[in-house]
Symmetry: C2
Subunit: 404 residues, 2 copies
Amino acid sequence: MSQCIATYRIYDDQADFHKKATSIAVGMTVGSWTELPQAKRDAMQKHLGEVVSVEVHEGWEPGSRYADVRIGYPDINFSRDIPALLVTVFGKISMDGRIKLTGLELSPEFMSGFPGPKFGIDGIRDLLGVHNRPLLMSIFKSVIGLNADELRDQFIRQALGGVDLIKDDEILFENELTPIEKRVKLCIEAARETEQTTGRKLLYAANLTGRTSGLRERALRAIDAGANALLFNVLAYGYDVLHELASDPDIQVPIMAHPSMAGAFYQAQHYGIAAPVLLGQLMRIAGADLVLFPSPYGSVTMPREENLAIRNELHSAKLDVKRSMPVPSAGIHPGLVPRILRDFGSDVVVNAGGGIHGHPMGTEAGGRAFVQAIDAAMKSIPLTEYAEQHQELKAALDIWGGEV
Amino acid sequence: MSQCIATYRIYDDQADFHKKATSIAVGMTVGSWTELPQAKRDAMQKHLGEVVSVEVHEGWEPGSRYADVRIGYPDINFSRDIPALLVTVFGKISMDGRIKLTGLELSPEFMSGFPGPKFGIDGIRDLLGVHNRPLLMSIFKSVIGLNADELRDQFIRQALGGVDLIKDDEILFENELTPIEKRVKLCIEAARETEQTTGRKLLYAANLTGRTSGLRERALRAIDAGANALLFNVLAYGYDVLHELASDPDIQVPIMAHPSMAGAFYQAQHYGIAAPVLLGQLMRIAGADLVLFPSPYGSVTMPREENLAIRNELHSAKLDVKRSMPVPSAGIHPGLVPRILRDFGSDVVVNAGGGIHGHPMGTEAGGRAFVQAIDAAMKSIPLTEYAEQHQELKAALDIWGGEV
């Protein structure tokens, strides 16, 4: 019987976890079991949830206990979409005490509804013509209230630094000064120009916003205007909206998932949805080509192990869909590049905002310092040594520090 | 300057909360401020967030501190939709330490995009012809795997008990046995029949599921088949999808919001979104006519103060949209009816699953016991006294206990 398995971490100092597991398996599927007559049981057997495993652990505090409980949900019970999956595995029970959804094992049957990322890591590399190093992304900064000329100016300064991708600020919505078609046109035009100078192709991820039913058409208009990537605040809309955009045959550009609102789900120890499920697995099956999440390096941080678990979900061969590109974000400066490569490998996007715009020699130099740091790291040359011949990198290391 | 104000509770034993508030107000709007030249400041002033108030409190544990911080976000910065609002007020900062979104004060300017519930409390009462008492709702139980005849049979037994509303189980998705059009047809047909017996009108809330872009059409087909209400797992799809369904001129039936997944947001003390915002205010502005949430009475519980705060948001005259009907759910039995009335007033839905189906004399008697309890409570007759002449109520009080 084909089923999807959810893992929960349940904290309870008193509970009989095996009984609790059974009550979830029954309660979230057929509703009742022991009181059913045998004939009815035979008919309902294929709908009944299964307790796959229960592992009880002692907690840190004396007398405290928690358990990792795995429950199998028959695929026949729900449809092939993420809302149905989430309501089934974490609808009502999200409200039932200290419980966190920590894992999902999705069946091939369920995954048949999920084409996954259209581009994935390899597709993005093909678009950029870059196969042998991490990618470099720059984030627009303080764009609310900028007019078209100011936006274009900032775009060009980022592009000239040699970045591979530039993304909109996720809080830039439709506005009179720089509506999406207008800013796509001017940014893509600027990209064509700077490509002559840098020799590098550039993806610009324009923030797709507005009412849900208008997103597809707005995306198509942006693409008509030249957009070659889209940024999307997935959790503010729901995974299914990403799933629909990403599997739309007319939307032939990579989609970058922003983790807006994610902290409301993953930050609590005892509640919510763990980051590797929220920002790893679900983003990937919904079709995100790139996924941003808080890096372990900056002020807005996530523990390193959680970061690596997200990366593992985005890269894992367990899922039969393309791999998504991890984009650890916040607090990134050139001195961190070797560490990012050690933590993530080279299938990663080095993504910086303040670490580019805040460079003492300016935004363009900020990009160059990262390009130099990536060059050095790929050649296994210590940054401090490489910086002797590269002034932008040297200036960055001087203010933000070097390899740790 | 028109703005929406968000309140956060921030837990930090060390922080300078005033500095933190300023960094949110600047960081989530214009990005930087003190380093801007004066001319630029003049241009950006209208986009700058405002620290409205900062109240610092001592925590329970010695040395612990938290603050209630109110930040105003200029309406000019974002569009008139809930994704834009949430990304603006709780996008990035949801991930920045121990912070919970606890309140929203929405401007008339922002609210101009929100028609609110189409029916609301008064509209639902008009549909049912019931104006002077709380409404009674029954929940389908163990419906996965039921065929059409079994479903119809359970519907009739609930309807004959005298309930005003019957709702689908929220985990019933599209399936071969009872797809939405088929079950709407047979339930509404059954309702017409039972109305002859009970003399009561009945709303049946069919669970609207499936892919996002197909919801509108599926809703219309269900309505064509006779559906007179819809159930919707709002948080699995996103508030904007509810907003679009509820403001669609072709969808002329009440929409009932299920709190599936809500626990992932509201349960943690230090993180997420507080229940009155999540299940009160946002559900109402998105257009939910009825809103379910965990009652303070059962096993899946929410503290009474939070319940009342949700009710206050659903009923509040502060918002210029229709009022939504609160539906405290889980653990409801007839003996609780007087307490529900004391806590919520009579503009409430008394909603029971096990408290109806688990009645010792059967489902139909289970409904009748509630009808009797509501009659007694409205006449201010003690339940135990009323039960002397009403055997269904007596049987219910005998197994579940009476008024507390």
